[in-house]
C-alpha cells in the first residue's frame, strides 16, 4: 500500500494556479523525485503536503488516512518530516539543540516534569541527546555540536537540516533541493545517505535540480511545469520525453551527464 497518496492537489496565489491537479503516490522505501523548471510548483507542492499551505483542492492521504490541511505538527506526529529549500534553522540555538528539537515528539512529556526537572524528563532527554549526536556524526557535523547554528556555512546548514529531519524518525521524508550548494563530492555523500534511508524503508520525496543525482537514485520521477504534471515515469523514460527536455532539461543534458 502507498504511504503517501496525493490526489488532485491544487492551490492558487492571486490568479496564479501554482499547483494544479497533481496526483501521485509514494511507497515505503521508494524514492520519488519531483522535477520541473523554476516556479513549476515543486516547493508549493511540498508545502501543501506538509501542512504549511492548506490545499485549495484535492486530498493528501498518509497511511490511508486523509490528512488534507492538517497542521504540520500533526503530520509530524504521523511520521512526515521535511527539509526546506529556504533554510529554516534555529539560528540562535546550538547545532546539537537544533537536532534535539527534531526529537521533540520523542522526548516531550508532561510540563511539570520539565518544570521540576523530574528524573523521567532527564531520562528522555538523555536518550534524545545520544540519538542526536549519532545523527550529527552521520552528516559530519559532530565537531560543531556546541556551535551556534547561525555560524555554520550554507552547505553545513543544509546537512544540519537533514539531520534534524531524520531525528523525527520519519516514515516519509520530503527533501527540497538537498544538494543545492554542495559540490559534486558532497552531493555524492547525500546520494549515499538518501539511498541508505530508502533502503531502511523510509519513503523519500525529493525535489532536486541536480539531474545526475535525480536520475541515479529515483525509482520514479514526476515532472511539473506551470503547476501541472506534464510527465512521469522511471528516469530513463522521463529523460527522453521531448516535452521534458524542452521545458526543463534542455539539449545540453547529455554533455552535463557525462562529466
Amino acid at each position: 500500500m502507498s504511504l503517501l497518496e496525493v490526489s488532485g492537489l491544487g492551490i492558487a496565489f492571486g490568479g496564479l494556479m501554482a499547483v494544479n491537479d497533481v496526483s501521485f503516490a509514494v511507497k515505503p522505501g521508494e524514492i520519488v523525485s519531483v522535477i520541473g523548471p523554476n516556479g513549476a510548483g515543486k516547493t508549493t507542492l511540498f508545502n501543501m503536503i506538509s501542512g504549511i499551505y492548506r490545499p485549495g483542492r484535492g486530498a493528501v492521504r498518509l497511511n490511508g488516512e486523509d490528512v488534507t490541511g492538517e497542521a504540520p505538527h500533526r503530520l509530524a506526529e504521523k511520521g512526515l518530516s521535511r527539509t526546506f529549500q529556504n533554510l529554516q534553522i534555529f539560528q540562535e540555538m546550538t547545532v546539537l539543540d537544533n537536532v534535539l528539537a527534531g526529537y521533540h515528539l520523542q522526548e516531550r512529556g508532561p510540563i511539570w516534569a520539565d518544570l521540576l526537572s523530574l528524573p523521567s524528563m532527564r531520562r528522555r532527554a538523555t536518550i534524545a541527546r545520544d540519538g542526536a549526536r549519532a545523527l550529527l556524526e552521520r552528516v559530519r557535523l559532530d565537531k560543531t555540536e556546541g556551535q551556534q547554528a547561525g555560524s555554520l556555512s550554507y552547505g553545513s546548514l543544509k546537512r544540519l537540516e537533514i539531520a534534524r529531519a531524520l531525528a523525527l524518525n520519519p516514515k516519509i521524508l520530503l527533501l527540497d533541493e538537498p544538494a543545492a550548494g554542495c559540490n559534486a563530492v558532497e552531493t555524492e555523500e547525500i546520494d549515499h545517505l538518501i539511498t541508505e534511508l530508502a533502503g531502511s524503508g523510509i519513503a523519500i520525496l525529493l525535489v532536486e535540480h541536480d539531474m545526475k543525482l535525480v536520475m541515479r537514485i529515483s525509482s520514479h520521477i514526476i515532472v511539473l511545469d506551470h503547476g501541472e504534471k506534464i510527465a512521469e515515469g522511471d528516469p530513463a523514460t522521463v529523460s527522453r520525453d521531448p516535452q521534458v527536455i524542452a521545458a526543463y532539461l534542455g539539449a545540453g543534458q547529455e554533455e552535463e551527464a557525462e562529466c
Binding site: 523548471p37 523554476n38 516547493t43 552547505g155 559534486a184 562529466c259
Partner: protein
C-alpha cells in the same frame, strides 16, 4: 583590476580567512571553488564590504577599498549577487530591480530593466508581485538581475547557479561569458565547479581559509586532485 593581498577575516574570535592572495584581471572570469565552509562566501563578503577585514589589502582599479564602506563600493564598480539571495522580500520585483540601479537615474535604467526582463522573462511576468513570493530559483534570478542593474565593472557572484533548473544553469554560464564580452569582470564562486571552470579563465581552490591551488582553468580541470575532490570524477 582586483587584487587581494594577505586577506584575513574573522567572526568574533574565530579567524576563517587566513591570508588570501588573489587577483582578477580586467575582463577576466575567475572562479573560486572549495568545499562547504572553506570561506568562499566570507571572501566575497569582504570584497563587497559586508564583512570586516582584519588584515590584508583589497585593491580595486588601483584604489584601496579597505576603508570604503559597503554602500560606496557599487559606485566604484563592484556589485555582488550574495549567498542566500538577499532580495527585498517586501518590495515588488520591479522595485527590487529599480533599487539595483539606485545610483543611477538616467533613461538607461529603463533599458537595463528591459534587458533584465529579456534575460529572465519570468521576472517580467511577476514584476508587480512581492519578491518574497517568488520561487527559490526565481529569487536567484532576481538577485543576479539586480546586481546587473548596478552596471558593475566587476561582478561578484556567489553560487549563482544554486537552485536553478538545468536549462537556466546553462543560461547563467552563457550570461557570464556574455558579460566578459561586454568587458565586465566576473569573480564567480561556484559549487558547480565543472561548469564554472569551463567558462573561466583562471581558478582558485580554497580549503579552510587558504588558497591551496590556483592556475588557468583548463589546467585545474585536468588536475587530478581537483578532479577527485571537487569534480567527483
Amino acid at each position: 583590476m582586483l587584487t587581494v593581498e594577505g586577506l584575513r577575516s574573522r567572526y568574533g574570535r574565530i579567524e576563517v580567512l587566513h591570508g588570501i592572495d588573489l587577483e582578477v584581471k580586467s575582463g577576466e572570469i575567475v572562479t573560486v571553488v572549495g568545499a562547504n565552509g572553506a570561506g568562499k562566501t566570507t571572501l566575497l563578503k569582504c570584497l563587497s564590504g559586508t564583512q570586516p577585514v582584519s588584515d590584508g589589502r583589497i585593491v580595486f582599479r588601483g584604489e584601496s577599498l579597505n576603508s570604503v564602506p559597503a554602500h560606496r563600493r557599487l559606485a566604484h564598480g563592484l556589485a555582488q549577487s550574495p549567498e542566500g539571495r538577499q532580495i527585498f522580500t517586501n518590495l515588488t520585483v520591479e522595485e527590487n530591480l529599480r533599487l539595483g540601479a539606485y545610483l543611477h537615474s538616467d533613461e538607461r535604467v529603463d533599458r537595463d530593466m528591459t534587458e533584465a526582463f529579456a534575460l529572465f522573462p519570468i521576472l517580467r511576468e511577476k514584476r508587480n508581485l512581492a519578491a518574497g513570493g517568488l520561487s527559490g530559483g526565481q529569487q536567484q534570478m532576481l538577485a543576479i538581475a539586480r546586481a546587473l542593474m548596478g552596471r558593475p565593472s566587476c561582478l561578484l557572484l556567489d553560487e549563482p547557479s544554486m537552485g536553478l533548473a538545468p536549462l537556466l544553469v546553462a543560461q547563467i554560464f552563457e550570461v557570464v561569458t556574455e558579460l566578459k564580452n561586454r568587458d565586465v569582470t566576473v569573480l564567480l564562486v561556484e559549487q558547480n565547479a565543472y561548469g564554472a571552470l569551463r567558462i573561466a579563465d583562471r581558478g582558485y581552490v580554497m580549503e579552510t581559509g587558504h588558497i591551496i591551488i590556483s592556475g588557468p582553468a583548463a589546467e585545474l580541470i585536468a588536475d587530478p586532485r581537483i578532479r577527485e575532490a571537487y569534480l567527483g570524477l
